[in-house]
Subunit: 196 residues, 2 copies
DNA sequence: CAGCTGACAGATATCAATATCTGTCAGCTG
DNA sequence: CAGCTGACAGATATTGATATCTGTCAGCTG
């Protein structure tokens, strides 16, 4: 009895896993659930992902990559001046994370569990994001608007100094009144620090 | 059978509670344990603290206050110029937290549980610290070394931007090689942003 | 014969019965 | 009689017996 006659792909498994995680939450989502959602035996899932942990890591990576990709456009937009590009990029990062946390708190909590499990995927994500920041900073140095010795180190510092506005650990504070002003105060100070 | 003939005070209970927390950890430390350590019945403990939660909050406050007090000296030291005072204060805060986390990881984990339980005490602690920072910033403005519109808002921004180097949630990263440089990069950027 | 199934062993989670703890208070004691 | 005790009821945690899940693999099927 094949309910879906399509062939089973890693992609289809990832989609089904996201759905199961959304429905059951991270604690109760099992490989058997994923297999049932796809109308196959759980043995078939193990044909595409060696372990449950590997499956969850792949889901985590996909989720993180979606954010990175949405920011890459701003980082690469050479039509804006670097100072404004930097401000826009940081604001867009904040806004993206805040929307994810605010729009569907349960799903966000699920992904917080997943990111805790998968330090490796998170590290890659952070490397990716600081890479984008480095490109903006370097553009600013080349344009003569930023005075900075080591663009990569400065990019890391910028990322870390704004952690309160993108690190999921702070998500509760993103809905408090005044966060916008706090964000502006921190970013303002940092932009001034980049030199004229 | 009175093992200690001294009268029972809130202070003695707090000391015993710290010891029990150190020994048993936050999950297993009970009021009965505290009473046993003092050689009294647990009813006597409830004569000084209305609930177990109130007792744990008092222990938490004491612990946080010890850090605040150690920094107050630097904040008040008018003999150093504000720029250096600010750098020293932030470095001392980082160093204090890092030592607490590194010297006795288990005890630190215990206090992380306690601070999670007692958001109120933590909020007071943060108000206290940003107050100290505000005084330094204001001194800098008065001395003409900082160009800042709202010292209190700037103090909050400085505190938040350096969160990675004092927020217990980041304690794992405080032992990584290169944190010192990261700290210097962030603080350097912020100090530059305060204006000449 | 490539891809899938389902029975299986060991690991992990669930659940209900039992034990311990929290918070109260009437009464003891020095 | 101020301060403490210890028995108690209800709430919370622990335990161990049971059920479910993970990961494997020999063999089925189209």
């Amino acid at each position: 009895m094949p309910p879906t006659s399509e062939i089973l792909t890693a992609e289809r498994i990832l989609e089904a896993t996201e759905e199961v995680l959304r429905r059951h939450g991270p604690a109760k989502a099992t490989v058997v659930d994923v297999a049932r959602a796809l109308g196959v035996s759980h043995g078939s899932v193990y044909r595409h992902f060696r372990t449950k942990a590997a499956l969850r890591e792949a889901v985590t990576k996909r989720w993180l990559d979606r954010t990175s990709e949405s920011l890459a456009g701003i980082a690469a937009d050479a039509s804006r001046d670097p100072r404004q590009r930097l401000g826009d990029w940081l604001a867009a990062l904040f806004e993206a994370k805040r929307r994810k946390a605010g729009d569907d708190p349960e799903l966000f909590a699920t992904y917080m569990v997943l990111t805790d499990e998968n330090g490796g995927a998170v590290a890659e994500h952070i490397t990716d994001l600081t890479g984008q920041l480095t490109r903006i900073v370097r553009a600013g140095v080349d344009a003569g608007v930023f005075t900075v010795a080591d663009p990569a180190a400065t990019a890391r510092a910028l990322f870390q100094a704004t952690g309160r506005f993108h690190d999921p650990g702070y998500h509760r504070e993103w809905e408090l009144p005044g966060v916008e002003d706090e964000f502006d105060a921190v970013v303002g100070l940092l932009l001034r620090g980049l030199g004229v």
